[in-house]
């Protein structure tokens, strides 16, 4: 990757429509000196109607319901998505994503790949932490040291998500050198995801209880976190992105029960939250509420084990292909997700430039083709079918529904699926150990595309647990080389090719990406459903309509 220039004016809104005053002046300057002069003469108070309309007003407070308690808000080693919901407003990393997952500078203004194992990051000058201290390379080094060995309440268990960073060193006040154990392209996505890569002031863990308090550079500073109850944030006045955030305050209320969220939203006690499709549909009938919908990285997937011992029918690739063609994904979307969803490959749709195209999936690799499925079963010598146990989560309830649809669909090619619903903890334990025949499971957000395909690297733990008998050297090479290729443009065709090969081998059968619904009161403007499953809009783009 070449050097990245300093960033310019930016927008976090989905449509890119929210411009701050500085952006507007830049644009005005592009239009012509005369216009600028006219604007200057008119003065800020007499700005044109168009300008007044474009600039989001500042002020106000949004109260948002969280469906799960963060448990803690430590910047490092938090595993739950809810951990990040709680800490996201106050922490930032060196790089960030825009809404389309394009990487762009954040606390680092640029970075230079010195060699395959060395990257120099130049930090943004003048950035202040919530305690007033200026950001320096020493703070970044302290943060990376903790990322590589997360103290309690974080867990070292997250290290699987951390790329091969050997360590960092301070080159100057504003330059940090990162050394990699080996070339690892995941670094940039890891930083942009910001889930495990926050930058905190040096010595923070000695100054505050990191599980309940925090000091970051983000748009909001934490006032209070009461576990199982609420989090209160206030606008950070010295935030380095001028004019942001638009809100004066942000409040999170922990309301795990969906009906409680429905009641609170109706009563105006909260401004928004996340809801199931059914509740969102019901709330959408209320003219005083607005339903937002968007795909997230969470997609459903059917996994199969291919292990030594009993030879199972699906060890034959033709049977796996038959299963893939017998599954009607559109029917799953219609029947279980009320028509809101999308076909998913091994990389979910919406994950930047990495997934296969919609038409590739719908018209080719995931096309519902029952005659072809039956022919493949016949060719494999199992036209009479077989019985298999498919394990899935007992909650959320959509898993059982998807399982029931799949059971009916596979019954048409004489595969008798016995559905076993397990409590999430039990399911996770069995899945991790590979003690299942078929698992109907879900995937989540990853910092880098490698996170979706790493289990096809034969050295991975999952590969050994799930399908040690699976062989495809081309896939191995693509996945292995994709991780060490630092040029993102060169990586894209590699991962696309790997996905096409995997859609042919169908060791895992990707199913559908599901929509997430958030419902807000109309006064909450510019909120959007973030693909990452975070509530990013709340601390970047949301403002209160006057």
């Amino acid at each position: 990757m070449s050097d990245i220039p300093s960033d310019k004016a930016r927008s976090d809104s989905p449509g890119g429509g929210d411009l701050n005053r500085r952006d507007l002046l830049v644009k005005a300057g592009q239009i012509g000196a005369g216009a600028v002069a006219a604007g200057s003469l008119a003065g800020a108070a007499k700005a044109s109607p168009a300008r007044r309309k474009a600039a989001p007003p500042r002020g106000g407070k949004v109260t948002w319901a969280l469906e799960q308690d963060p448990a803690h808000i430590a910047p490092f080693g938090g595993i739950l998505t809810a951990n990040h919901w709680g800490k996201a407003p106050m922490y930032e990393s060196l790089i960030e994503w825009d809404v389309k997952l394009n990487e762009r500078p954040a606390l680092a203004t640029s970075w230079k790949v010195v060699d395959a194992r060395t990257i120099d990051f130049t930090l943004r000058r003048g950035v202040r932490f919530h305690n007033g201290k200026e950001l320096t390379a020493a703070d970044a080094k302290y943060s990376f040291d903790l990322q590589l060995n997360p103290p309690a309440p974080g867990s070292v268990a997250v290290l699987g998500q951390v790329p091969a960073i050997a360590g960092t060193e301070v080159r100057s006040k504003y330059v940090l050198r990162m050394k990699l154990k080996n070339p690892d392209a995941r670094v940039f996505g890891y930083l942009a995801w910001n889930r495990y890569s926050a930058i905190v002031p040096e010595g923070m863990y000695g100054q505050v209880n990191a599980g309940r308090e925090g000091i970051g550079t983000g748009p909001f500073r934490l006032l209070e976190y009461q576990p199982n109850s609420h989090l209160e944030f206030a606008r950070f006045q010295n935030y380095w992105k001028r004019g942001r955030p638009y809100l004066d305050a942000l409040s999170f209320k922990v309301l795990p029960d969906e009906q409680a969220r429905v009641a609170a939203l109706r009563a105006g006690a909260i401004d928004g939250g996340t809801f199931s499709a059914d509740s969102a549909k019901a709330l959408g009938q209320n003219r005083n509420l607005k339903v937002l919908r968007g795909l997230t990285a969470a997609f459903r997937e059917l996994q199969m084990t291919i292990k030594p011992g009993d030879r199972k029918p699906w060890h034959d690739v033709r049977v796996r292909q038959a299963v893939n063609f017998a599954i009607n994904r559109q029917e799953i979307i219609n029947r279980v997700y009320s028509g809101f969803g999308e076909y998913s490959g091994h990389v979910p749709p919406g994950y930047g430039p990495w997934p296969l195209t919609r038409s590739e999936l719908r018209d080719r690799y995931e096309k519902h083709d029952l005659p072809k499925a039956r022919a493949l079963m016949r060719a494999a010598g199992v036209a009479n079918g077989f019985t298999v146990e498919m394990t899935t989560f007992s909650t959320p309830l959509d898993f059982a529904s998807v399982a029931a649809v799949i059971k009916a669909q596979l019954n048409r090619i004489n595969i008798n699926v016995n559905i076993v619903a397990q409590e999430p903890g039990t399911f996770a334990a069995n899945n991790g150990r590979g003690t299942f025949e078929w698992d109907l499971t879900a995937r989540g957000m990853r910092g880098d595309v490698d996170g979706y395909l790493a289990e096809f690297n034969p050295s991975s733990t999952a590969y050994q647990a799930w399908y040690p008998l699976y062989r495809n050297v081309r896939v191995w090479r693509l996945v292995g080389n994709g991780r060490i290729q630092l040029d993102q443009k060169k990586r894209i065709p590699m991962y696309k090719e790997a996905q096409r090969l995997l859609m042919n081998d169908v060791v895992q059968v990707p199913l559908v990406a599901v929509s997430k619904f958030q419902v807000v009161r109309p006064r909450v403007a510019n909120m959007y459903v973030a693909f990452s499953d975070f509530n990013t809009g709340l601390h970047t783009s949301v403002y209160i309509k006057r």
């Binding site: 070292v156 268990a157 699987g160 009563a267 039990t426 996770a428």
Partner: protein, 316 residues
């Protein structure tokens, strides 16, 4: 009498030890530990990292070692740290316990204040319209699940009045009015079952007592009806009710778990459910021990009060 109290108190200790061992084993026999739950099928975690994470959380060593570590800490007041957020379990419980205790107390209060008079009226006006009404209400009360009623009340007040209880816990010492407005719906939700039980129990025992010779004698002597009911009959009829109320504390505690989640109250029921889902062993153990201790204490108090109310029991 003192011997009776001492004997009942001493029995608490082996009960608590038994409970602690049972809970310790039960949570560990569940498939999957906190690392499995948190990581799920994270494909990039090596077994070495998983093991390191278990060690970090103190989940290494045999069950016997782990129990000994926990039990020896517990007797010294150290209940360990939550594996979810590394906070001392004792401080988590200190924050959560008053909320649940207040909820249970208010529920019990509502149940007794409403249930006892209803039972008395029902017994005194036997086979009358108010008796039938109270009995039907009692039947409905024991049939309605508290979580269902809680959800219904919440949706009803939000739709009908555009009102829901405050979402952030308010201590009664900070603002009693806000606190009560926060607790009234959850307390009502879980009190209905107990209220119905109390009402039915009072009615049954009142009917029995009202047919006793001494009541008939009092009436024959011309003692006013109100005095006969409240001074002679009710006082004796309440003895078995005390036992029922003691047992109902357990029912109310279990009802509180779901209702606290519905109303977003950060009490120990809410805490326990989250701890179970995330396999937070120290928190599960401490919370269930606390619930068991509260339940046992209430039953001990009931036994003692019973002994005072009816000296024949204490006498053996």
């Amino acid at each position: 009498m003192y011997g009776y109290v001492a004997k009942r108190t001493l029995l608490v200790l082996p009960t608590l030890i038994g409970v602690s061992i049972a809970i310790f084993l039960m949570v560990r026999l569940l498939p999957g530990d906190v690392i499995d739950v948190l990581l799920g099928a994270d494909t990039q975690v090596t077994p070495e990292v998983r093991e390191q994470a278990r060690k970090q959380l103190g989940l290494d060593g045999s069950y016997a070692e782990q129990y000994w570590r926990w039990a020896s800490g517990a007797v010294q007041g150290d209940l360990g740290d939550s594996v979810r957020n590394a906070e001392p379990v004792s401080s988590i419980l200190r924050d959560a316990a008053p909320i649940t205790l207040e909820l249970v107390f208010l529920s019990l209060l509502i149940a007794v204040v409403v249930g006892v008079p209803l039972g008395v009226v029902s017994a005194v006006r036997r086979e009358g319209s108010s008796d039938y009404l109270a009995r039907v209400a009692g039947l409905i009360g024991v049939s309605i699940p508290s979580f269902w009623l809680a959800t219904l009340l919440l949706l009803f007040t939000s739709r009908a009045f555009g009102w829901v209880p405050p979402l952030t816990y308010v201590s009664p010492f900070d603002d009693l009015g806000a606190n009560l407005s926060q607790f009234i719906l959850p307390a009502l939700s879980i009190s209905v079952f107990t209220m119905a039980i109390v009402m039915r129990m009072v009615r049954a025992t009142m009917l029995e007592v009202l047919s006793q010779d001494y009541v008939r004698t009092a009436r024959a002597k011309g003692v006013p009806r109100r005095r006969v009911v409240f001074r002679h009959a009710l006082r004796n009829a309440l003895i078995p009710v005390v036992t029922v109320v003691g047992f109902e504390v357990g029912v109310l505690m279990s009802g509180a778990a779901i209702v606290e989640i519905i109303f977003g109250l950060p009490g120990i029921g809410n805490l326990l459910l989250q701890a179970i889902f995330s396999r937070d062993y120290p928190l599960i153990q401490a919370t269930t021990m606390l619930i068991a201790a509260i339940f046992i204490t209430f039953n001990l108090l009931v036994d003692i009060v019973y002994g005072f109310l009816d000296p024949r029991i204490a006498g053996g």
